[in-house]
Every structure is written in C-alpha cells, then in structure tokens.
Amino acid sequence: MKDTNNIEPFEIIKKDNELTLKPLIPINVYYGDYYFEDIEKLDFENYSNIIVDLADVTEFDSFLIVFYNKLNKTAEGKNVKINYINASEEQNNLVNVLSKEQKEEKPNKQKKPFFYNYLENIGLKVKTMFSDMYVFIEFTGNLMIALFKFPFKIKELRIKDFAYYFNNAGVNAVPIVILIVFLLGLITGYQGALLLKQFGADRFIADLVGIVIARELGPLMTAILVAGRSGSAYAAEIGTMKVSEEIDALKTMGMDLYQFLIIPRVLAVTIAIPFITILADFAGIVGGLVAAMTALDMTFTGYSNELNRALNYSHLFSGLFKSIIFGFLVSSVGCFRGLQASGGAESVGRFTTAAVVTGVLLIILSDAVFTFLFQVLGI
C-alpha cells in the first residue's frame, strides 16, 4: 500500500490474441480513477479474449461496479470477450446487491431542453405573480373582515402578544430609524444648501428639509426599515410555524388564524409606526438644522422661524397618514408571505426575502398613488 510509487495499476500480460489484466491497486473511490487512464490506452481491438484476474484485489468498494462498467464499455463493439476470473465471493456479493434490478417503477421526470425551461420559467413567474396578487387580495379581504369583527372580540386579543410585537416592531426600531432619518436630513440639508446658496435663498433650506422629511423621507424610510426588521421577522416566524405544522395544529384546534396570529402583529405595527414616524421627522429636521447651521451659518431661531412658516399640519398629517398605510401593508405582507411558505426551511428563507421585496415595492407603489391623490386633492 505505502509504496505505490511507480506501480502500474495493472499487470498486463499479452499472449497471442489473449490479454490478461491483473489489477494491483485497490479498486475503491480513492484509487479507482487511476485505472481509467490505463484502460483507455489498452488496444482491445487487437485481441479476441480479455481476462481480468481479480485474485490480487483485496480492497474494493462499490467503485468495483464503475470499474466493471468501464471495461465493458471500452470493449463494446470491438468484438472481444471479457472474462472476469478469481473474483472473491465478497466481490460477487457486492456486485449482486448493488446492481440488482429495481422492482419499483422509476419515476419519469424528464429533463427538458434549456430554452423550453427558460420559457416555462417565465410563464410560471408571470402566473405566480398573478396568482399571488389574487391570493393577497383574498388575504387582505379576510384580514379586513377580521379587523371589522375585532372590536367585538377585543377581549380575545392576546394583549401580551400585542405588547410584545409593539415593543419589538415599535420601541426597538426607534434608535436605528432616528439615526438614519437624522442622517438623511443632514444629507438633504447639505445638498440643498449648495443649490440654495447660488440663488441667495439660504433660508429656504428649512422649507426644503422640513417638507421633504415630513411628507416623504420620514414616512418612507421608517416604513422601509420596519419592512426590513418586522416584515421579514413575521414572514420567518409564521413561515416556520407553517412548515412545522403549527399552523395546521391551530386550524384543527378551531382557532382563528387572523385573530390569533395576524391581527396582533398587524395592529402592533400599524399603531406603532406613526409614532416612530413623528420621532423620525423630528430627527430629520434636526439633521437639516445641523446642515443649515454649519453650511449656511443660519441661526437656530432663523431656521425654526422659517420652518414654522413653511410647515403646516397638512404636510405632517399627510406623512403620518401614509405611514399608517405603509405600516399596514408591510406587516400584512410579512404575515401573508409567511403563510405562503411550505415544505422546508429553504422555502421559509425564500418567502422571508419575498416579504421584504414585496413590502418595499408596495410602499413605493402606494406612495406614488398618494402623491398623485394629494396633488389632485390639493393637500
């Protein structure tokens, strides 16, 4: 075994029209492939009889069958006969057990050509998109019904769950939301300052930052962060429950899924999100102030007076109203995607990603709709 240096895998004896091969090294998964090159070099066509003498093969595993197959295939169509001699009983056993015919029917899962797959995939994607939309509308409908019934069943709300989700989705999100929107206010302020300075319209920086943050960036960023933090978490939690048959258990226990799982989550986010947004707006405006004071040498009073003049309640409330809608969309999409999971862990991962992507997509879509509506209504 140790000095396999310079040892050929076969001992080859050529005699008239008879070729004898004596395998010398183990025929197993570690050494077996050394035989292959040598087998290819053999000139089977010059012989009518090939003898494979297995007497010296003491080490082997299922690679033995691969080895047999290779020899047989090489001999194919060459008008030679291969005889295997001196195979031990163990070797024969192995071959018999591992190459037995399968009694059960083989499945017919055919491989399709690439372009076919490609087309089929596009078709499937489009179909899934539409069916997802359909199911989501159904889901939203059910959720609405559950929400309308909710005031009559308020006693059934698991207040502990609600508090837990409110804390997780709301309170715990505050630091990161404040930090990000503060920086956004600062960035918007600096970018605006460069422009406004050129026109000598320095004081309008407060208008710019105030309105952009309160109407758009505050609610939008808060919602996107909540989608990333809570929407994904809900999808993963509910998805895991789904694949481990907990959802089925709930259903068979006669529990209302919406009441038990979804409403506490959706309510928690929908109620918490306007509060986070207010804090975010404040942080963003402070960011703008920092920009105004450093880049434009504005005073605090100057900034706040201008802000006071420019910002009215309709700016603030349109932002908060949007944030409530965003919160509802993000949390219900999270739950919805979780419920779609099936199979195993891999599917939970897939739908968690989908929860965030769909959540953000819906936020932006509805934001566009609102921008248009508010324009028309003059809000």
Binding site: T4, Y30, F60, S62
Partner: protein, 288 residues
C-alpha cells in the same frame, strides 16, 4: 506513478491534502471483507458517562460492538439511546469515558484525525437529515466530491449505483420534499453509504414509517450487512425490527441510567428474571 498524479492534482485541488490523507487511510476505510470476523470489536465504549447540566443521563456504561454484526440499542423513550449514538459518532463529547473506533479514540481526536475517523461512519438520522435545498444526487455527491478525486461521470455512476441499491433509481433530480418519508430514509441511507463506510449508524430507521415500509428498511439493513459486511449500529424501539434484524442487543433503562440487559434478542425475550426487559420485549404495558 500515483504520486506523480497526486502532485498534479495538488496544484488544482485545495482539498488534495485531505484527499491524500483519506487515500492513505483507505486501508481501514474501504471494505476489507476478509477481516469481517465477528470476534473483533470495531467500536469499544468504555466507562461512558453523559450528563446534561446536572442531570446524569448515562452512568458509566461499557460495551463492545463487533465487526460485521448488526448491533441494536433499545429501550423506552428518553432512556438515552440517541444520546449514546451521538457520543459514538462524535457529535458530543462525553463527560467521562472513551470511545474507541478501530482502536482510535474519537472523543480526543481533532481536525484531520477526527475527519479520518468520521469517514468510517455513515449515519442515518431520525429525521433523515437530507439537505432540503439539494437534489438526491447532490446530497450523495457532496461527500464523494470533497473526499475523492473522481471525475463527474464516475461520481454520477456511483450515485446511480447507490440509489439503485436502495431502490430509488431514477430519483436523482428529485428534492427531498418531493419524495415520501420512507423514500427519504432510503435516500439518506444511500447518502450514508456514499463512501462505503465500514460502519453504518441508524437512529430509529423505522420511526414514522408504516409496518411494511419499516420491514423493508430492516431487510435492507440485513441485506447490506450480509453482502457488504458493514457493521450496523441501530437505535430502535421497534420491537419487530429488533427481533427480526438484530444479532446482539443492549437494553438501556432510564432509572438504571445504563445497560440492564445484553444478548441476542431471543434471549432477552425469554428473560423472565428481569421484569423490565421481559415486559419490553413482550410488549406488556407498565402501569403509570
């Protein structure tokens, strides 16, 4: 000549160190059926003690598993069968005691030495443990790809052989979620056999299966054992399976925290002097 080839593959394969290691070790790893005598222990468990936190689950047990036998660990639920198996396959380190695989202590081995010992095992977990994101073929190929220098077509051929031997030919491109529970167990067995290990370990191979499928699984174990000489270590509480398949059995007990009986299943079935063993093997319910 082989060394030359190895050097070439060294350049192209980062794993080759490990591979070389394995091939040197193949002496003990591949089926050397000539040695398949029943009187030489392949696994020796000596003074094993296991505890979780402060709770002692297994208290100072010792037993040997002979080369080429079908060895079963039985006992009621929660008596520590899976725990013992997890120690043997090196998933957990015992508080005390040693476990020798072919004379090498798996508890103390680390790094490459441990991989070398682990390559002697194929393990079939209770919930099969197939990788859900991979097809059956990929599940089986994983170990072959990382431990050998075989070409893709050779690996495909081996996959086909393994799947055929468990009656799953043609299922190469199926995902675990697309096949039934019994098929999953068989696929997991095919994966465990990827490198033709000399020892196969099973945790509850028939749990969750119908009696016919369970019996098929037992037959498969017997067949592979007699044809390949593989040592089978089976944890089970399926009585029929134990009596039909096992050559030697140890019975663990929760209260004794150890082995309360050892022998052939037929002997244990007649062991009237030990009520617990007798009741277990004759399916007599205990009062709660």
């Amino acid at each position: 000549m082989i060394e030359e080839k190895k050097e070439i593959s060294n350049l192209s394969n980062n794993n080759s160190n490990e591979i070389e290691d394995n091939s040197k070790a193949s002496n003990t790893n591949s089926l050397s059926l000539k040695n398949s005598t029943n009187n030489e222990p392949i696994i020796q468990v000596k003074n094993l003690t296991v505890q979780y936190d402060d709770r002692v689950i297994i208290d100072n047990i010792s037993f040997d598993i002979m080369r080429g036998e079908i060895f079963m660990i039985v006992g009621g639920s929660g008596c520590g069968k899976s725990t013992v198996l997890r120690q043997i396959i090196g998933l957990e380190i015992p508080i005390e005691g040693e476990i020798l695989i072919n004379g090498e202590d798996i508890c103390k081995a680390t790094g490459k030495d441990k991989v070398h010992i682990l390559n002697k095992f194929g393990v079939l977990f209770q919930s099969s443990g197939l990788f859900a994101s991979m097809t059956l073929a990929e599940n089986i190929a994983l170990k072959l790809e990382t431990s050998t220098n075989l070409t893709n077509s050779q690996i495909l051929e081996l996959i086909n052989i393994k799947l055929t031997s468990v009656g799953l030919a043609g299922y190469e491109s199926f995902l675990p979620s697309e096949i039934s529970g019994g098929m999953k167990k068989r696929a997991a067995l095919a994966r465990a056999m990827a490198l033709d290990p000399p020892i196969l370990c099973f945790d509850e191979p028939s749990s969750g299966l119908d009696p016919v499928t369970a019996a098929t699984m037992d037959e498969l174990i017997k067949e592979l054992n007699s044809a390949l000489g593989t040592t089978m270590v089976v944890v089970s509480h399926d009585l029929d399976g134990v009596i039909n398949t096992a050559q030697r059995v140890i019975m663990l007990d929760k209260d004794a925290k150890g082995i309360i009986a050892e022998g052939a299943p037929k002997e244990l079935k007649e062991m009237k002097e030990n009520k617990k063993v007798y009741d277990f093997f004759n399916r007599i319910p205990t009062s709660i």
